[in-house]
């Protein structure tokens, strides 16, 4: 439910409420006689029993108590009266004073009721992980990006979001996909049968240095003859592309030619460009060969004295290559021959590199890590306890672990190895409701009194709210120590600056702004040949980065509607006609200092001329999704602003909208605006369109893909308008000023959307005091985005739970 913006009075009362009640007199305001008289005078003609126009009967509302019970309907009634929807035009109209009086009275009745009601955190139904949450949770639980949920059916949506517990269903097809996904994940993450380490063999003639003159013989020679080219002096080396954290074995065969009794010494080198400490200059100087300097930095893994002088009985060596060398090349170098001795020659048969010796994937090692000194049964329980506690987002209970462990042992008894048994347990974990649902288990689930969530449940609410994924190690550690509640503000701050907070943009903001439609929207290619996937992506990216900055830099939420900056790449800058980072126009003399050029692909911050663009409402993404394929839709744009920004959606169109007859062509030519005004002249449409259309027309300077224009076809653009409350504006700049004045309404709208998303349920009337309180705090706190989040996280609905409906 979306409630109307409250008066400043309400906010002040809410602030004061924590200190002392705002109204000293505790008697409830009385509906009679003012309210009852109003109904009799203005409504009874149509809305009495037996003559209930629009299925609405009003004679039951005779006193304060009846009004409190009929709250939902009354909020709607009040709205109709105050917007002038009711009574109908043809009936005698109430005076402004009468309307003000009934509005004030009804609100005071509800405010009084709210003030006296016990705080009610409401009830959240257990939430199935949606597709995004599933993907993110698997990423964090297993340690790799699998994105298995991309094949899942689309999630159900309620209250504008896809994470609403009551609405998310689990049909059999989805359960099948869960199985397929769990099997796929387990098969990739754990390998019961490890593959052999990869082997790389390279014959001598193919080793480097390469070039003309390398002999094609079985053995590749290098010698200490002075003044030889690198090809003939070495060191011989070869490049490998291997993971850095592995251990390897290097093998080679060789023999030497030297004078009788002369020793031939060689060194095995490992070259790693990222090596922190290679050999010293002195050490390097002992080695021979033109290629030595190019191989630095390197380490000497071992040195050998070559025994064999016979190509039929070469020496073979096997050298361990330790991990973390940033290994790029292996090499064999000759040591320099002492000056009094003749040169020697080394003949190398091949290089052979085997490894990494440990072929367990990272996921496998992480999931199965345990104290190897313990007996197998203990290892099983250690591994399962860790896996299940993380997957279920709470400490796994010993009896649960025991059940899973017994199953692993049964599988092992049936012939599976340990890894295979754990792999199956992982599948079972991933299809368990304890993983698939965010459970908030409770020994007294139906108890009516509000009580705090436990710390692990709170950690989950936080992480899925701000990150759309499971709690990380820090949150879990705090919950384990019972210190999360005490440190929650610091955690919120940390979480909002974490990279994972981007999910607030991708999930919350994209749904709030209804921007998922951008992916599929198809403007007419003939009219908008410039619209392609690159532009589509750029539009989306602009909005994402823009919102990301508001969150990261903790800016005012008013920046959403009116900002003097944005982020553009070349594609979008050209679309907007912007030449540089100072917002100068393409093809016009600069009106500001010349800025930097806008890079081709990367997005850069651009300061904007506020007379044209600034804030979400003028971003191409939003202008495009609120348009039709061939033209703008001021109605859609107006509705969008009312619903997504002001939280005051117009009611749906009446069922029997009179047709817009286009037969009389003469009457219906002109700009879109003129044609729509003719349409609006029909009484049935006028009221709502009076709210939507003026707002929509403010944006007529932007075409259906968000380009700036000064004419609609051959017709000039008119952007001036007037809202039903009488506020007038000449164009966008003045309209934004009006929006700024509606800050309380804008912040309430954002709070309501965020609270809905954070709780995973629709808002109810009993949430109203909470929204009021948060709105007051936000206004006090410089309208910062983080204040909204922090106050939501501190609020009762976020931190408390209850069972059955609270008694009124």
């Amino acid at each position: 439910m979306i409630f109307r913006s409250s008066s400043l009075m309400v906010i002040l009362c809410a602030i004061a409420a924590s200190v002392a009640p705002c109204v000293a007199d505790d008697a409830a305001p009385s509906f009679a006689p003012v309210g009852v008289d109003f109904l009799k005078k203005h409504c009874a003609k149509c809305h009495t029993d037996g003559k209930s126009e629009g299925s609405l009967t009003l004679d039951r509302y005779v006193d304060t108590q009846s009004l409190v019970k009929g709250r939902r309907i009354w909020m709607a009634i009040l709205k109709r009266i105050e917007t002038g929807d009711m009574p109908p035009e043809e009936e005698p109209q109430p005076t402004k004073d009468e309307v003000d009086a009934i509005g004030k009275l009804v609100r005071s009745i509800y405010e009084d009721a709210d003030r006296k009601a016990k705080p009610d955190p409401g009830r959240v139904t257990l939430r199935r992980l949606n597709r995004t949450e599933y993907n993110n949770t698997i990423r964090d639980l297993i340690g790799v990006d699998f994105n298995p949920a991309d094949d899942f059916p689309t999630d159900d949506i309620g209250y504008g979001f896809d994470n609403i517990g009551d609405v998310l269903s689990l049909p059999p097809v989805l359960m099948e996909r869960y199985f397929v996904a769990a099997e796929g994940i387990a098969n990739q993450a754990i390998l019961p049968k490890l593959p052999d380490p990869p082997k790389r063999h390279m014959d001598g003639q193919y080793l480097e240095p390469a070039g003309k003159g390398v002999p094609t013989t079985k053995y590749r020679p290098i010698s200490t003859k002075p003044d030889g080219e690198a090809i003939f002096t070495g060191p011989l080396h070869y490049e490998y592309k291997v993971p850095d954290d592995g251990e390897y074995i290097f093998r080679s065969k060789f023999y030497a030619e030297a004078a009788e009794g002369q020793a031939v010494r060689i060194a095995i080198l490992a070259h790693g460009p990222g090596l922190a400490q290679g050999v010293t200059d002195d050490e390097a100087n002992q080695l021979f060969g033109k290629a030595v300097p190019a191989l630095r930095p390197f380490v000497i893994l071992s040195t050998h004295e070559v025994q064999s002088r016979d190509k039929d009985k070469p020496d073979s060596i096997e050298v361990k290559v330790p991990p973390n060398l940033d290994l790029k090349r292996m090499a064999i170098a000759l040591f320099k021959t002492p000056e009094d001795q003749p040169p020697v020659t080394l003949h190398v048969d091949y290089f052979h590199l085997e490894g990494p010796l440990d072929t367990r994937p990272k996921t496998h090692r992480a999931l199965l890590a345990c104290d190897a000194s313990q007996p197998k049964e203990a290892q099983t329980r250690e591994v399962l306890t860790r896996l299940m506690s993380r997957a279920f987002r709470r400490p796994a209970q010993p009896e649960e672990v025991e059940r899973f462990a017994k199953r692993v042992e049964a599988d092992m008894a049936a012939g599976l190895n340990w890894e295979g048994g754990i792999q199956r347990a992982l599948i079972a974990v991933l299809v368990s409701p304890k993983f698939l649902f965010r459970m908030e288990l409770d020994d007294r689930p139906e108890a009516a009194e509000p009580r705090p969530l436990d710390e692990f449940q709170l950690a989950s609410r936080l992480s899925y709210f701000l990150w759309s994924t499971m709690p990380d190690a820090e949150l879990t550690a705090l919950a384990t120590k019972g210190e999360l509640t005490a440190n929650i503000d610091a955690q919120v701050k940390r979480m909002l600056t974490d990279k994972r907070a981007e999910s607030l943009v991708e999930n919350f903001a994209m749904q709030w702004l209804e921007l998922q439609r951008l992916k599929t929207i198809a403007p007419d290619p003939k009219m908008f040949p410039g619209f392609d996937d690159r532009l589509r992506r750029a539009m989306q990216r602009e909005t994402e980065i823009f919102i990301g900055e508001i969150i990261r830099e903790d800016r005012s939420i008013l920046d959403f509607v009116d900002a003097d900056f944005t982020y553009l790449n070349e594609t979008l800058a050209q679309h907007y006609g912007i030449a540089d980072t100072n917002g100068n126009w393409i093809g016009q003399p600069p009106h500001r200092d010349k800025g930097e050029p806008i890079p081709r692909r990367n997005f850069v911050r651009v300061s904007l001329d506020p007379s044209q663009r600034g804030g979400l409402l003028t971003q191409a993404s939003i202008l495009t999704v609120t348009s039709n394929p061939t033209r703008t839709s001021p109605v859609k744009r107006g509705r969008w602003v009312l619903e997504q920004i002001l939280g005051d959606p117009p009611p749906p169109a009446p069922p029997d909208v009179p047709l817009l007859e286009e037969g009389d062509k003469a009457a219906l030519t002109g700009s879109l605006r003129q044609r729509m005004e003719q349409h609006r002249s029909k009484a049935a449409c006028a009221n709502c369109h009076a709210r939507m259309d003026p707002i929509g027309f403010v944006f007529e300077n932007f075409d259906a893909i968000g380009r700036y224009r000064t004419k609609d076809g051959e017709f000039p653009i008119e952007t001036a308008g007037e809202l039903p409350d009488g506020s007038k504006f000449a164009g966008l700049v003045e309209f934004k000023q009006i929006l700024r004045q509606r800050k309380p309404q804008i912040s309430r709208c954002l709070i309501e959307k965020l609270l809905t998303f954070g709780l995973g349920r629709g808002l109810e009337y009993y949430d109203r005091p909470v929204v009021d309180r948060i709105a007051a705090k936000v206004t006090q706190g410089d309208d910062k985005f983080s204040t909204v989040i922090r106050e939501i996280v501190r609020s009762e609905p976020f931190r408390l739970r209850r069972g059955l409906e609270q008694a009124q």
Binding site: D166, L170, E399, A428, V431, E514, P629, A653
Partner: protein
């Protein structure tokens, strides 16, 4: 994959790119038990499908002027010329529950949700979704145990992308027509790859039994393990858990069935790689999936929502740049009406393709279409007026000789559409006293 007959896999693959020229499977030999002769002396069973198109049509371009056998196909029905003798045009059927009845706007949401249920959708975009059991699910609940999948729900568009879809109605109402119960809508699958995988498995016939056995043992284990949750969650939560348990029960039953039914045969049809970028190719693949499902007797019940109700998709492939929904409010503008007609005809070519495919597949003495009944239509009549009487409805196929096609049959206007569903259920050997607002079965489907 085992090769059957003389069509090589390569031939098939070559055909995939050009969706129209797919060499079909008739030359590959039978794919179902009776077509193979494995089940002796058993006649082929009947199959039913319902195809849905949104936003109504311009009825002047739909309704044949003459009744009976001697009628000419109006513009929208022209693509059906090759199968004119295999179909009935049914005029006068009405989805009364798609009307507001005091609920205000939302004709699109109601049109689809009332179409197969004959029930009034509850106006909600949130927690308490309610319509009625749909005809396909009623059939599936009775005869679904005879096939590996009780029913198949497919479509050409995904679920809702955002928000409530139509005047305060949850998006689910305008996105699916399969309702397992009044409160349990089933999502449709629009990725042909996943439909194929559901029907035949990702890795063909081998390894299927082993995988099924493993799944079954894990299901047993997980169910036992989850029993400890009882008493620790509220009643609301328990309802969600029950959904979980009912879904795993469903999978178990499927596994059990697949072990008692004749072994599945994966057709020599290349597994689709995913959703083609091009919408006509996408729709064509979904049509193929439906035909494959019937041909292999994977299921006998299918619903196919070509595009969601209220869809505002544009059709650049036929030169229509405007959105379908936007155009459907044509205000009697001739240019718009002609574009809307092109969209309707494009949808109709999909039906024509399906019917010709079914007809080309031999089964028993005749062909597959002889044992099918394929309903096609919309829950909106004229998209401009949003009326729900005199709906555009076709019924194709012979259904084992119980339907006499090749006619235009007029019923008194306001005859419940659900009466047609009742008649179809009878032909599936499913007898129920009523469905939604039905008042009895339709006469005159067979003469």
């Amino acid at each position: 994959m085992t090769a059957r007959g003389n069509v090589s896999r390569r031939t098939m693959l070559r055909g995939l790119g050009t969706a129209l020229a797919l060499p079909w499977l008739e030359s590959m030999g039978g794919l179902s038990a009776w077509a193979d002769g494995a089940v002796a002396a058993k006649t082929a069973p009947n199959r039913m499908a319902i195809l849905y198109v949104p936003n109504g049509v311009n009825m002047a371009d739909w309704t044949p002027a003459a009744e009976g056998t001697d009628f000419t196909l109006p513009a929208i029905l022209e693509p059906l010329a090759p199968v004119k003798d295999d179909l009935l045009v049914l005029t006068g059927l009405t989805a009364d529950k798609a009307r507001p009845h005091g609920d205000g706007g939302g004709d699109h949401a109601r049109a689809l949700s009332a179409f197969t249920t004959g029930a009034q959708a509850r106006k909600t975009d949130g927690v308490d979704i309610r319509s009625g059991i749909s005809v396909d699910q009623l059939a599936a609940s009775r005869i679904g145990d005879q096939t590996r999948l009780p029913s198949l729900e497919i479509g050409g568009e995904g679920g809702p992308m955002a928000g409530n879809c139509d005047s305060g109605y949850s998006c689910v109402y305008s996105a699916t027509m399969a309702w397992r119960s009044a409160t349990q809508p089933l999502p449709k699958e629009f990725n042909p790859k996943i439909v194929f995988e559901r029907m035949f498995g990702a890795d063909g016939d081998k390894g299927r039994k082993q995988r099924d056995d493993l799944r079954k043992s894990i299901l047993d284990f997980v169910r036992d393990d989850a029993a400890s949750l009882t008493g620790k969650v509220s009643r609301n939560d328990q309802r969600k858990l029950d959904e979980y348990f009912s879904s795993i029960r469903d999978i178990e039953q499927r596994i059990e069935r697949s072990q008692s039914l004749p072994p599945a045969k994966t057709p020599d049809y290349p597994m689709p790689a995913g959703i083609p970028d091009n919408f006509p190719d996408h729709l064509r693949l979904m049509c193929d999936m439906m035909v494959l499902a019937f041909q292999t007797d994977t299921t006998r019940v299918c619903t196919f929502v070509l595009t969601n109700e209220g869809s505002n998709r544009s059709y650049p492939n036929i030169g229509v740049a405007e959105g379908h929904h936007e155009l459907s409010h044509h205000g009697n503008d001739e240019a718009k009406k002609s574009k809307i007609r092109e969209i309707n005809k494009f949808h109709m070519t999909q039906l024509a393709y399906i019917l010709q495919k079914l007809k080309s597949i031999p089964e028993g003495e005749g062909n597959l279409l002889d044992h099918c009944m394929i309903a096609y239509g919309s829950g909106n009549s004229d998209g401009n007026a949003h009326n729900h009487d005199n709906l555009p409805i076709l019924l194709a196929g012979h259904c084992g000789g119980t339907i006499t096609p090749g006619r235009h049959v007029k019923y008194p206007n306001e005859t419940p559409l659900a009466n047609l569903w009742l008649s179809m259920l009878e032909r599936m050997d499913v007898r129920v006293p009523f469905l939604g607002d039905s008042t009895g079965s339709l006469s005159n489907l067979h003469v």
